[in-house]
């Protein structure tokens, strides 16, 4: 089923020229280190340029080096055939096992994978299995992986993951060298200049070149007279070249020397260096070249090269690569925080990992943390009620899907209604998410920081602090009014956050479009999200707030007390808190229990003294639902009737 390797196809019989040197060198390397050098090796070239030769040469070379290895050469068609036969015989698993045990798999004509989905899947599976087991795969095709029509993306990436090399049409020198070698192999002698004349014809591939040689051999066999240059032209139908080039060609091709001496020399030297420079040195040197090319310092690897027989070369390279990856990660992280610091060469030296980590930490510390939300404002502590239902729901949505639903969220309402509380509560909740960096601060602080940054000439650094945040919460944006530079900065930040779907939350005392001194572009962006209004607290809200407040003061809330306090006219929960504070403090001072009466006494003053010193009260009883609101507005002490002047009666 599998084609056996043709013994004539070895590296020794392959004429190496500039067009195929890379492929041959890669092939040799693979043969010497199967599974570790380039895996898979993908060779492509037009037909007749020696793919099959190289493929088989790899097989032969592996066999010569390690006879115990299991080598399999087959064309894709053979592979497909074998697969179908195995499936038909119900031996699919045996088929898979057979190929998984191959140490070096050489597959020719891979381009025939086009339109063979099931074979692609099979080959993908096999490639993965072989690669995992460290077995070598070499593939040949007439076109690069990406150009094989209808080829599975995963296969393309697998194939391209090793080394993809092409083989070109041999140039003149190589063509002549091929002709010479083939003529020699067949024991044919040609007159000087004959093979050179053939070599000048640009055959599209080596097969046709061989065809031409065959014709010459056949022609020479039937004619007793050896062919000369002119006869060759006739036989092959080559137009006669003009005398000047013909003359120069005879000069340039001395009889004793072949024109590709240099190529041959180069190949020999390459082989010698390859032998002399041990494989590990080559690996290290290649790693050095690669990483140096990317701008990393390679001192650690270079040190290896100076040693005679260093231990664990591959481990050192792996560790080095890991360090480089870490540096890349650090640099990327720093780039977000401080673009200038990212260019630091400390991120290019894997031998100074500590310095890089320290530098990154410094940037991180310098940039971090943007002001965080205050822990005092937990979401649990926010009093919910009809008056703030919309805002609270919006906040919950924002917490659940930051950046996705309401972005930005603008909380609007008068002072003391809990905007700041809700803002911080959102911040706290968002900060609980993984890798979250929540910036939560007042506009005043934002402005002050910017001024300080401008003063200290580190605006970039300041910007970076906020740019790395995953959410940006700004309290009291009305303070931005008239501060153009801050608005400019906010505008840029705003756009960045919106683009990256990162959450923005703001608070303002009134609808953004009524705020003074705010630029239109900011207002329109604020309006673009959700503007949620928080109303003055309703009774339910007040009641639940009171219950909680009293509880926190360890005061049992009896109905009368609650009723009394709920009825107190307050503008916000904050004032309510102050009321409770006053009452409880007074209770503590008098060492009395908190009750409705005490509350009234504290909040409305002591009850009016009963008539004393001839003074009389009006006798008005203030109802709890009464229209008289404050103690100050009450006339408690009325003059005696005799002292009253009633003008009408006069």
């Amino acid at each position: 089923m599998t084609t056996s390797l043709n013994p004539r196809f070895t590296f020794e019989t392959f004429v190496v020229g500039a067009a195929n040197r890379l492929a041959v060198t890669a092939g040799r390397t693979v043969a010497e280190n199967p599974g570790s050098a380039y895996n898979p090796l993908f060779i492509y070239s037009s037909s007749g340029l020696g793919k099959t030769h190289v493929l088989m040469a790899i097989g032969q070379a592996v066999k010569a080096i390690a006879a115990q290895l299991n080598i399999e050469y087959l064309t894709l068609d053979e592979y497909v055939e074998a697969f179908h036969a195995a499936i038909a015989a119900g031996q699919g698993d045996a088929f898979r096992r057979r190929f998984q045990n191959v140490d070096v798999l050489l597959v020719d004509d891979v381009q025939f994978l086009t339109n063979r989905k099931e074979m692609q899947a099979e080959l993908l599976r096999l490639t993965e299995a072989l690669q995992q087991a460290g077995h070598q795969i070499v593939l040949a095709s007439d076109r690069p992986p990406a150009e094989i029509a209808d080829l599975d993306e995963r296969l393309i990436s697998r194939f391209s993951g090793g080394l993809v090399v092409d083989m070109g049409i041999p140039e003149y020198e190589t063509r002549v060298a091929i002709l010479r070698r083939k003529a020699e192999e067949r024991g044919q002698n040609f007159q000087p200049g004959v093979l050179e004349a053939v070599g000048k014809v640009e055959f599209p591939n080596v097969r046709e070149l061989m065809g031409a040689l065959n014709r010459l051999i056949a022609y020479q066999a039937v004619n007793d007279v050896p062919l000369n240059e002119e006869a060759v032209r006739k036989v092959l139908g080559i137009p006669t070249v003009d005398s000047s080039t013909a003359a120069s060609s005879t000069v340039a091709s001395p009889t004793a020397a072949s024109p590709d001496e240099f190529s041959q020399f180069l190949t020999d030297v390459t082989a010698t260096v390859g032998k002399a420079v041990e494989a590990w040195r080559a690996r290290v040197a290649e790693a050095v070249m690669r990483w140096e090319g990317e701008g990393y310092r390679t001192g650690r690897l270079e040190k290896l090269l100076h040693q005679d027989t260093p231990a664990a070369v591959d481990e050192v390279i792996t560790a080095y690569v890991q360090d480089v990856e870490r540096l890349k990660a650090l640099e990327a992280e720093v780039a977000v925080l401080d673009p200038q610091a990212a260019g630091d060469k400390v991120f290019r030296d894997p031998d100074e990992m500590d310095a890089a980590e320290a530098a990154a930490a410094k940037v991180r510390d310098g940039a971090a943390p943007p002001p965080a939300p205050s822990a005092a404002f937990a979401l649990d502590g926010f009093y919910a009620g009809a008056s703030n239902e919309i805002a609270l729901n919006a906040a919950r949505e924002v917490i659940a899907k930051p950046g996705k639903k309401y972005n930005p969220l603008v909380l609007v309402g008068k002072g003391g209604l809990g905007k700041t509380h809700l803002l911080n509560a959102i911040g706290l909740e968002l900060a609980k998410k993984k890798n979250a960096v929540v910036a939560c601060l007042s506009t005043q602080q934002f402005v002050d920081e910017l001024i300080a940054a401008i003063d200290g000439n580190r605006v970039d650094w300041w910007r970076a602090r906020y740019r790395r945040a995953t959410a940006f919460l700004l309290d009291d944006i009305q303070l931005l009014g008239g501060k153009e530079r801050t608005q400019e900065e906010l505008f840029n930040l705003f756009n960045q956050f919106l683009d990256a779907d990162r959450q923005l939350v703001f608070t303002a005392p009134a609808h953004p479009n009524t705020l003074e001194g705010l630029e239109e572009r900011i207002v329109s962006r604020l309006e673009g999200g959700l503007v949620a209004e928080i109303q003055e607290p309703d009774k339910d809200l007040k009641r639940s707030a009171l219950e909680r407040l009293l509880k926190s003061q360890r005061v049992s809330a009896d109905g009368a007390l609650l009723d009394y306090l709920v009825d107190r006219p307050v503008e916000s929960v904050r004032t309510l808190g102050a009321l409770v504070q006053r009452v409880t403090e007074a209770a503590a001072a008098q060492d009395a229990a908190v009750s409705a009466g005490l509350a009234r006494e504290v909040l409305e003053g002591p009850p009016a003294p009963r008539p004393t010193k001839g003074l009389r009260t009006s006798g008005i009883v203030v109802s709890s639902a009464g229209g008289v609101r404050s103690r100050e507005k009450m006339v408690w002490d009325w003059p005696a009737a005799a002292d009253r002047v009633i003008e009408e009666l006069r």
């Binding site: 004793a256 020397a257 020999d268 260096v273 040197a285 090269l305």
Partner: protein, 200 residues
Amino acid sequence: MSLVNFTTREITCKIVYYGPGRSGKTTNLHYVYGRVPETRRGRMVSLATQTDRTLFFDFLPIDLGQISGFSTRFQLYTVPGQVYYNATRRLVLQGADGVVFVGDSQARQLDENIESLQNLQSNLLEHGVDVRAVPLVMQYNKQDLPPELILTPPELDDALNFRSVPSFPADALHGTGVFETLKSISELVLKKLATGSPTT
């Protein structure tokens, strides 16, 4: 001169063509120069007298490109053959990684050959180098001359090659043996890589 520089990942081979005057050292270089693609070779520096004798030295750098991750360069030098340029010879010989002794096959030049070989030995010693430690190949040039004028390679081996280093009959003018010689010395030089090469 360092043969292998691991820091810059360069292999630089300095090969010096040594031999008596008019033995064909420069011709060797010229032939190599003609075979190396333009992109691979540097400018051949040749300082010659009006009669085409090498006055100072020839220098031909060849870039072999990346080999096993090493950028590989060959530097071919010739020394002036005439006896009175010994100072130059010694200078050129400094830091040589390998020496090609280009002998003149003509029978009447045998003494010059021997003299030049002795000169090579003493000049190497001046650099503190034992001739036995330096990669060396012999090239017996002008083998295309009529047989009655020249000595055969075995005869020359007997007369000159007492260290039994690789030797090559050559016709440098037409290229015979030129690349064989170069290849042989390159291999000898590069083999030093494997056996712990000098890095300074």
